[in-house]
């Protein structure tokens, strides 16, 4: 198994320390050591985006990130997007409402990227298409995902 290293992360808002082999991918740390299987492996090569997480608030394909390099950093997975205790992030709610979920395997990665897009102020449809192009989806044709992003974006600007 090789050399073990200690990795301390702020994982979904909670400080956690893991001892893992030095070569462990962040994706495997999340799925196997932290038991967070919401993050998916679709290709293992950074091509499909199913393993997208927020690394210090920026989307990152966790299959291409070494766990050890995340020591001292913040990671948010699909499980941590909501405010907690089963709440969904507004974009997750919008995905459900807009019919943006089909087989669901790309959905956690899409949810993470979408949340990041909204966090930086959202995007017009053309921009959203480009920003989402790192998340492959084979079911939806992306259209209802765009709708969800627009709806979640619209809600942010509505007075409460």
């Amino acid at each position: 198994m090789g050399e073990q290293v200690s990795v301390t992360l702020r994982l979904n808002g909670e400080e956690r320390t893991f001892r893992v082999p030095a070569g462990r991918r962040l994706l495997d740390l999340l799925r196997e050591d932290a038991g967070l299987t919401g993050t998916k492996e679709g290709c293992g090569a950074g091509e499909c985006g199913a393993c997208m997480v927020l690394l210090d608030d920026r989307p990152a394909t966790s299959c291409l990130v070494l766990a050890a390099s995340c020591d001292g950093h913040a990671v948010v997975t699909v499980e941590g997007l909501g405010a907690g205790r089963g709440d969904l992030h507004p974009f997750q709610e919008a995905l459900v409402r807009a019919g943006g979920v089909q087989c669901g395997f790309c959905t956690p990665g899409v949810a993470v990227t979408g949340a990041a897009i909204l966090a930086v102020g959202g995007a017009a449809r053309a921009g959203a298409a480009r920003l989402l192009s790192g998340n492959l989806c084979r079911c939806t044709g992306y259209i209802k995902i765009f709708t969800a992003l627009e709806e979640a974006e619209g809600e942010r600007h509505e007075p409460r």
Binding site: G82, R97, V101, S133, L136, R138, C139, I145, F146
Partner: protein, 781 residues
């Protein structure tokens, strides 16, 4: 009539056709849905496959001892370790699970490995040493049928021939004023479901086992595992895991990894999980067939089709798999929704050492539809007719409603209506291609394609066209539904929920439909051919009818009315004459339980028997049909050969909408997947090896490539599905690539007879018409 069906089981008002939340969306969106790779058990081992790196070879020797010696390796098994039959073929026994003497395709399995960790298992797979004596390979289906080609199997390379022969072809040929001929080379396609193939086998002694698998057809997996282990079907329980996309790629193929994992579980006595890495998945799993289609079609001087000759060769790859069944659909779909007095269609299936062809959304129809729509545009150009007008002259309708196989369609035949709906919404005829094309590199145009889709299984598979459902009314009035057709993203669980709620008059949120499991319902055939909602829905309606025979008398008694006057809807029961006096269904359910009356009902469905003669291709291959028309708006960069699909208008004859979001989602997804196949997705084969087994080199559409999609739905009465619904999964895919091709051809003014329309294909077709031809080819402008 579909409304009659509605009256028979409940109320016209209900959740049907709405946009309620999908049953599975909330769990999926927060990452709680457990796909098979997310499941692990104590003591679980990880499996890997040792596979052949060449496409054609004799196995001289196989040495697994280096693999067995590696740390963490618990089992390395070869063909000799199979207790039952070493056979993976779903129809023909031509494919071993583990090869012994001959390698016929890259990826043929030599040995299976189980180890403590996945890395150790794959390292052991690489350590298996095979001495292979390479044999010549056959990599072109037409060449495979030529004299002297090396046969892959004892019967030779011609696996099957299908035909449709109808009408007096010679006489019609003489009548034709215009005849066009063409040869179309239509490439294959990778499914690229986002979740790779995977399964988990859990043994219980050597008596029985459970397989949890990502699949479309748990009953196929059950029979394959039972066959390979030499067990009765009842000893193999297959539970469909939530499945991350299928598109046909998880129809027959999952039986193979399941057999491997089950074999390892059987030998080690431990749970074994096998998850394919993407590259291996793309190399090993089935593909859409590459085909060559030759056409000779003729029309009379009024622009009416006289005859159509179609000769198709399909590349089956190294094993039959489902290729003959795919060819059956391709064969009868070769003419499209047109009235043609004489047809001569031949479809041959050839073995080659290429990747292994299988089921893929459309099942052989997209390739031949691409060809028939290309030919229709060619003919229209010869007549100098608008392609829409030319189609209108030749479409089937309520008067001329005999298909190419001689089947008389039941009205309404909505081909013209669907064509009009799509073309009107798309603004046909669109921009004049020549107008802005003279100068800059961009050319714009519209293209149209229309198809006739045979719903559900072909006559050849009608013995599988049945399905089973179980409906259990809980004592609190909530409802459990089990069906044998699977959810793979298309929305089948949600459709089943809506149909059950509509039929029982309960609210959708009290109905739970659980993933299929072979121990809960009878063999319901495969979830293919757009039959999921249809087949599960019809079985649910049957179960609901039986349940209501017990429920309605209790309601009548409590309401003080006749049994025939009981109405159920929205969670309540009432007498037809007194709609204000309502009784909650939960009360009825409690009463049913208190009287100890059975609250569980089974339902069964089978399609109507029909006649079809495979020797002539005449008869009724399908019970009923739907029509789909897509219009694509494209922008072609004539300098670079790049196609951008800007918009697709999709008109569909859907019968009845069950769940609007799921239906639209199928169409949008089908359009985008069809566009990908049409312009970008290309299986690059190097002597049978896939040279681009990843998403960097095999390009599926991204969010940035998505066109606008406008959907036009035509509902009608008179069809046979639940409440009149027809399947949408495949018709949503089939016309897209053809519409895109026709748009590009109109934009550029040159015929393109090769798919995909990638830049090299387009530049090749442009030849001297390329804007810079004088520079590229050294000729004067």
């Amino acid at each position: 009539m579909s409304r009659a069906e509605g009256r028979g089981v409940g109320l016209p008002a209900g959740p049907l056709g709405g946009r309620g939340e999908r049953l599975d969306a909330r769990a999926k969106v927060c990452g709680q849905t457990r796909y098979v790779a997310d499941l692990s058990l104590p003591g679980m081992l990880h499996a890997a496959l040792a596979t052949a790196p060449v496409a054609s070879a004799r196995v001289v020797a196989l040495d697994v001892s280096p693999a067995r010696a590696l740390p963490g390796v618990r089992a390395v098994l070869t063909a000799a370790d199979i207790p039952g039959e070493n056979s993976a073929g779903v129809i023909f026994p031509d494919q071993p699970v583990l090869v012994t003497d001959r390698v016929r395709m890259v990826g043929d399995r030599l040995a299976v490995i189980a180890a403590d960790r996945p890395e150790a298992a794959w390292a052991a797979a690489r350590a298996v040493t095979a001495e292979l004596a390479e044999l010549p390979g056959v990599f072109d289906p037409v060449a495979a049928l030529a004299e002297g080609a090396l046969p892959l199997h004892p019967g030779g390379n011609l696996l099957r021939t299908f035909v449709v022969r109808r009408g007096r072809i010679e006489a019609q040929r003489r009548r034709a004023a215009v005849v066009v001929e063409a040869e179309y080379r239509v490439g294959g396609q990778e499914h690229a479901y986002l979740e790779p193939q995977g399964c988990l086998a859990i043994p219980e002694g050597r008596q029985r086992l459970t397989v949890i698998t990502s699949c479309q057809c748990p009953f196929y997996v059950q029979s394959a595992v039972a066959r390979v282990l030499g067990l009765p079907l009842a000893a193999v329980r297959v539970e469909q895991a939530p499945t991350g996309g299928g598109f046909g790629g998880k129809e027959d193929y999952p039986s193979e990894p399941a057999a491997c994992a089950a074999l390892l579980a059987w030998h080690t006595g431990r749970p074994v999980r096998l998850i394919y890495p993407r590259e291996l998945d793309m190399q090993l799993s089935t593909k859409r067939h590459a085909v060559v289609v030759r056409h000779r079609w003729g029309a009379d001087r009024d622009g009416r089709l006289c005859f159509a000759e179609v000769d198709t060769v399909m590349d089956a790859g190294a094993y039959a798999g489902l290729s003959t069944v795919v060819a059956e659909r391709a064969n009868v779909s070769a003419i499209g929704p047109y009235h043609v007095p004489a047809v001569d269609v031949r479809t041959r299936v050839a073995y080659t050492n290429n990747l292994f062809g299988g089921a893929f959304r459309g099942f052989g129809a997209p390739q031949v539809a691409w060809a028939h729509e290309a030919t229709m545009d060619r003919l229209a150009r010869r007549f100098d007719l608008d392609p829409v007008e030319f189609r209108r002259r030749n479409l089937l309708d309520d008067r001329r409603r005999v298909t190419c196989t001689g089947q008389r369609l039941r009205p309404p035949v909505l081909a013209r209506e669907v064509l009009d709906l799509a073309t009107r919404a798309a603004g046909w005829p669109g921009p004049e291609a020549a107008g802005d094309g003279e100068h800059g590199p961009y050319r714009h145009s519209l293209g149209v394609a229309i198809i006739l889709y045979g719903c559900n299984l072909h006559h050849g598979g009608q013995k599988l066209d049945r399905s089973s459902a179980v409906v259990i009314l809980q004592t609190d009035g909530s409802v459990i539904v089990r069906v044998g057709l699977t959810e793979m993203g298309q929305g089948n669980l949600t459709a089943a929920r809506i149909i059950a709620a509509q039929a029982l008059g309960v609210r959708t949120d009290v109905v739970q439909v659980w993933q299929p499991d072979t121990t809960t319902v009878a063999d319901s055939g495969p979830t293919v051919a757009s039959r999921g909602a249809h087949a599960s829905g019809m079985a649910i309606l049957d179960a609901a009818r039986r349940l209501r025979r017990r429920l309605d008398p209790i309601a009548a008694e409590l309401l003080g009315c006749a049994v025939g006057d009981v109405c159920l809807g929205g969670g309540y029961a009432w007498a037809a004459a007194r709609p204000g006096d309502r009784l909650p269904i939960s009360r009825l359910a409690a009463e049913l339980a208190a009287r100890r009356i059975e609250g569980i009902a089974t339902g069964w469905y089978r399609s109507r028997a029909r006649r079809f003669d495979p020797a002539t291709g005449r008869g009724a291959p399908y019970e009923f049909y739907s029509v789909a028309c897509h219009v694509a708006r494209v922008r072609v960069d004539a300098e670079l050969g790049l196609v951008k699909v800007l918009a697709v208008t999709a008109a569909h004859d859907v019968g009845r909408v069950i769940h609007r979001d799921a239906l639209e989602g199928q169409i949008e997804g089908g359009v985008v997947q069809g566009m990908g196949w049409g312009i970008a997705e290309e299986l690059k084969l190097d002597r049978g090896r896939l040279a681009n087994p990843n998403f960097t080199d095999y390009l599926i559409p991204t969010a940035a490539d998505t066109p606008e999609v406008h959907i036009e739905l035509l509902e009608s009465d008179g069809t046979a599905g639940p409440f009149g619904a027809k399947g949408i999964g495949e018709p949503s895919f089939i016309p897209t690539a053809a519409a895109v091709r026709n748009a590009v051809v109109r934009a550029l003014g040159v015929e393109i007879d090769r798919l995909p329309l990638s830049p090299p294909t387009i530049l090749d077709a442009l030849g001297p018409l390329h804007p810079w031809a004088h520079v590229l080819h050294g000729s004067s402008p």
